[in-house]
């Protein structure tokens, strides 16, 4: 508990002055299955992006560029909603993936 704030240090009335700092919090370790992006199948429709509950689809310059595994909880919505044929997102077991 040593890195936690003392009663003299906590913000008055619990007014939290760090907007959006939850982005520093990792939820990726909740996953049991993980989406894998198959770039060559991607049609850049952004369905995965608009439907992701965790804003874990990374985009840059109007392009889908991958998955934010720090936050992706592995719900599978992205793969389910991917309209590409064959799909550009596939769910695999977390234990089957070598890395993160």
């Amino acid at each position: 508990m040593s890195n936690l704030l003392t009663w003299k240090e906590v913000p008055k009335g619990a007014f939290l002055e760090k907007p959006g700092n939850a982005a520093d919090y990792e939820t990726g370790d909740w996953r049991s299955i993980k989406p894998v992006w198959i770039a060559e199948n991607c049609i850049q429709c952004f369905r995965c992006w608009v439907y992701c509950p965790d804003a874990a689809i990374m985009t840059k310059d109007k392009k889908m560029i991958g998955i934010d595994y720090k936050h992706c909880k592995g719900c599978g919505i992205c793969a389910n909603e991917c309209p590409a044929k064959p799909k550009a997102l596939e769910m695999i077991n977390e234990s089957d993936s070598g890395d993160n």
């Binding site: 939850a22 520093d24 608009v50």
Partner: protein, 308 residues
Amino acid sequence: MANLKQLSQQEEFFTPGHRMCAGCVAPVVVRQVSMAAGDTPVVIANATGCLEVASTIFPYTAWRAPWIHNAFENASATLSGVETAYRALKKQGKIDKKVKFIAFGGDGGTYDIGFQSLSGAMERGHDIVYICYDNGAYMNTGIQRSSATPQFADTTTSPAGSVIPGKIQWRKDLTAIMAAHNVPYVAQVAPSHFNDLITKVQKAIAVDGPAFINAMAPCPRGWRYDTREGIEMTRLAVETCYWPLYEVEDGQWKLTYKPREKKPLTEWIKKQGRFRHLFTDENKELLEQFQQRVDEEWEKLLRRCGEM
């Protein structure tokens, strides 16, 4: 028409790292509302509920915009006060930006315990967009029935038993009740139909005065379906006409989406564990009753919208 690629270049007011369950659709609603708000400065109030607790576990907050939580039943009243403070400061020349005020509440905090507060705020005409993320039960406390719960759903306080087959009552039609407040804009939305949702939220934001939006937000634990099917759940709810997409703009009812072919209700409910008990021989009649009521409600809406 929302151009997703363009929207992806905006910063959203809701960040990842929130602790809503995997596959929860409420954050999808919040994100799409954020996409609709775009650069408009917003101040947000949140009723107690899943979204509130899971997004602001001290010392973390998933909100980039000013955000306030007070209690369960009073998001509307709290935001009334914030919006009034804004008007006071504006009148005094201490603030010049145009700010929009958005409230989020679940169906518990909106249909039930927060209903009085919501009704009061709408009647008084505050410049508030109230967004209900309707997951059809008190999910935060462990799936108890609410007045938004569909008839026959099995919840922990309307358990499907040998005598009582789940929730007895039909759900409260809150969207229509809000329309009866004669506020400038009321709409029902589903995140599967993001174009519709984003367009409606943009309309609600553009309105000067109160607006209410009822957004279906499935809960994988409460409805008992595979987490990957969250968006499919709202799509099927729309396609079966259980959850029609419509708006009431200055008193004019308008259907904003009409399924090409109305799907049978079973297409939607067969995927959900909370309706499993309806698929037995002895409950066949209930299933028919359920479908019949959905048909009636749909026709009522079509008449209201001048579609028949």
